[in-house]
């Protein structure tokens, strides 16, 4: 099914005879495998409103991300959270959509400084499991009118409703950017370096450590400001060694690779994504073994593991969560892709799903 209007989407859900597998661009096959009739949102496309002077955009959930990024770039603006493209990582084709990006709450390196996808999302329209059309939030960035369903829709992977329209707060794109690269630091010193950088007033917008032990910091802004800040940072961090500088073009390519987890592209094995307090990262890396990439100053760990590994059993107890992003259908059926929750929290989440999707037809079991 491929509804073209929100009304058609509503009818399709209302009249569904059984489970639905909801698909935006089909580029992120994450979670428990879902058996069901495919419901595609790609035809619910089109930018409804773009006001550069108000930093806001409203678009159909099926709108291709690339189309929106082009539109914003022409006005010198962008989505603040640097959405990732996982096609290379997951070996998928298709075109990432805004709705899919929101359903997965996908944020890139700038998340550490500018917030996640859910932080820039200011409004949604969706169809719940009974076919009712629901709106929440809107097109203004300050809005506390009623409960904030916008946040819970982000990252709900289509299990609470099928998104039909999304609204974002935007930011100006910077005039230029540069990257400082420190070579050969172990995870401990690397995380310490990133903490010192992110705790400084120079507004570092990316802090990552690649599997080859390069630690990188990004600065963005007006040219004079970037020149000043990179000098201050290099001096402030001199104890970690001398930094190589990447200029604008190289910076863009470098961070696109971090964003899209390029180092794990085409590498055999399962890929896990672990969110922790940054200073816990070095210890968890040691426990996990294997290739690893750190983003968000260490708060996000990407791990390459032998196929079928239950990473949570390997790590033991830790504070945060681990999500299995890339694995075979068999592995994703056997090992819970999403972090199991304590009973009272799971009861709340299950209660919400039961209320929003009483028949259990929206991507059933995907996050179980």
């Amino acid at each position: 099914m491929r509804p073209v209007t929100e009304k058609e989407l509503s009818e399709a859900v209302r009249d569904a005879a059984g489970p639905l597998a909801i698909r935006g661009g089909g580029t992120r096959p994450v979670g428990r495998p879902v058996a069901g009739e495919v419901l595609e949102t790609g035809a619910l496309a089109g930018v409804r409103l773009y006001e550069p002077g108000a930093l806001t955009l409203v678009a159909g959930a099926g709108t291709p991300l690339v189309e929106v990024e082009g539109l914003l770039a022409a006005e010198g603006q962008r989505l603040p959270f640097e959405p990732a493209d996982w096609r290379g990582l997951l070996g998928t084709e298709g075109v990432p959509t805004l709705g899919g990006m929101v359903a997965a709450n996908v944020s890139g390196p700038r998340r550490a400084q500018a917030g996640a996808c859910r932080d820039s999302l200011i409004g949604v329209r969706f169809v719940d499991g009974a076919g009712a059309i629901v709106k929440n939030g809107g097109r203004v960035m300050k809005n506390v009118t009623g409960y904030d369903l916008v946040k819970v829709m982000a990252g709900s992977w289509g299990t609470l409703g099928v998104l039909s329209e999304v609204s974002f707060k935007l930011l100006p794109a910077p005039e230029t950017a540069a990257t400082l690269v420190f070579a050969g630091l172990d995870a401990g010193p690397s995380v310490a370096l990133m903490a010192a950088a992110l705790g400084s007033p120079w507004e570092v917008t990316g802090a990552a450590r690649l599997p080859d032990a390069r630690t990188a910091l990004r600065i963005e802004g007006f040219a004079a400001s970037v020149a000043y800040r990179r000098g201050e940072l290099a001096g402030h961090l001199a104890r970690f060694g001398a930094a190589q500088v990447l200029e604008r073009e190289e910076t863009a390519a470098f961070w696109a690779d971090v964003r899209d987890v390029a180092p794990f592209r085409g590498q055999a094995g399962d890929v896990w994504r672990v969110s922790v307090k940054p200073s816990d990262a070095p210890d968890l890396l040691a426990r996990a073994g294997g290739a690893a990439m750190l983003d968000w100053g260490g708060g996000l760990i990407w791990l390459l593991q032998p196929e079928g590994t239950d990473l949570r059993a390997v790590l033991g107890p830790f504070k945060g969560h681990a999500t299995l992003i890339r694995a075979s259908v068999e592995t994703r059926a056997r090992i819970a892709p999403f972090q199991p929750e304590p009973a009272p929290v799971a009861a709340l989440a299950n209660g919400l799903r039961a209320r929003f999707d009483p028949r259990g037809i929206l991507n059933p079991g995907l996050m179980a």
Binding site: G146, Y147, D148, G199, S225, K319, G351
Partner: protein, 476 residues
Amino acid sequence: MQMPQPNADVLARRDRIVARLRDVLPPDAVIDDPTETRAYECDGLTAYRCPPLAAVLPASTDEVSAVLAICHAEGVPVVPRGSGTSLAGGALPTEDSVILGVARLRDVLETDYDNRFIRVQTGRTNLSVTGAVETDGFFYAPDPSSQLACAIAGNIGMNSGGAHCLKYGVTTNNLLGVTMVLMDGTVVELGGAHMDAGGLDLLGLVCGSEGQLGVVTEATLRILPKPEGARPVLIGFNANEVAGACVSDIIKAGVLPVAIEFMDRPCIRATEAFAHAGYPDCEALLIVEVEGSEDEIAEQLGLIRQIAMRHDPVEFRESQSEAESAKIWLGRKSAFGAMGQINDYMCLDGTIPVSELPFVLRRIDEMSKEFGLDVANVFHAGDGNMHPLILFDANKPGDLETCEAFGAEILKLCVEVGGCLTGEHGVGIEKRDLMHVQFARDDLEAQMRVKDVFDPKWLLNPAKVFPLDASAGRRG
């Protein structure tokens, strides 16, 4: 303001309920003497008052849990209360309710600069969170104007904002985790020192739920390194439209000021008479603040000057010193006090798309004449959050009602042009009955389902947020 009939059965069991609360709390933490419960009869929305059945002041998460378990078992409504600064009646009691105040939960539990967070008990005031980290060069970004008094618990309940949201976001963007007690006494941890949710983002639901989903006792908050410096500029214009166009041009030019404040002529005149900040006598005034090193500030202000000059300002005043910066902010910060000097006033809080500013101000002016009440406008122009202040005389019969009717019309206008009823104050009881203006039945139904899950008996903070007719079937 219509409120539901108090539960006679609960009122009849008053002594037994108070006795049970005394079993789990120290003697001075349970207040039921009618002369003392009057201290809790209202919050910042003083037009509405109702003493609660009792007030409790637990000092730990365990005590909160014990109180809620008792109230759950006894079927007693509970009204959570931070510092009671809500302008929306968010902490207004009902006659059959127990006020649960977090005033004794004030500790800093953990400060972590490497990971840039602070964990506090939620009775702590907003400003004292920054106070705990500022000597080390950090701050907590959300800065509601009541920040000297308001509690983090209330900030989370209302998803509070402030003047610096354009750059730093509101409470929900700076909240990493909470310890929360559900109505039945169950303690849950949502989020933590890490980023993003592992499953559904329940933390995002809790923030802004006006104390209706649980009682938040501890919070992990993001702290940020202080910028090297900050400086405001004051720009005066002879028309609201021009000021609005200038704001739009600044944003389009790629500058991201940390704050853009707007004041209209009635507001400028009143604050000038009150605070003598040296504001020019003009139709509209912008205060734009930028951050960074000296050179970075100079570059951004240079760009803003270029843009402003294209709009023919009557005044462009760049601060040259700390004292001048303070003077530029002085008028804006005394705006509410200045209004209070003139008359009673009602402060509205709608948000509009920034592009609709000139139209909305024109309509408010027309309505002001129709209703016969004066209005002054202060406005977070960067994010569209308006604070029209309607002046009225509380001693004049009918004036409050006229003022409320006028306020409702302004909020409806905000919704009509694509905005919302409340940008940072919350719905409470004040905007409860206007929710139908912004939301269709299914929109409200979806929100009420969330409450069904967290608080199935609908005991937490009753009669708020949802129009009484919409929630009637659920409130029992």
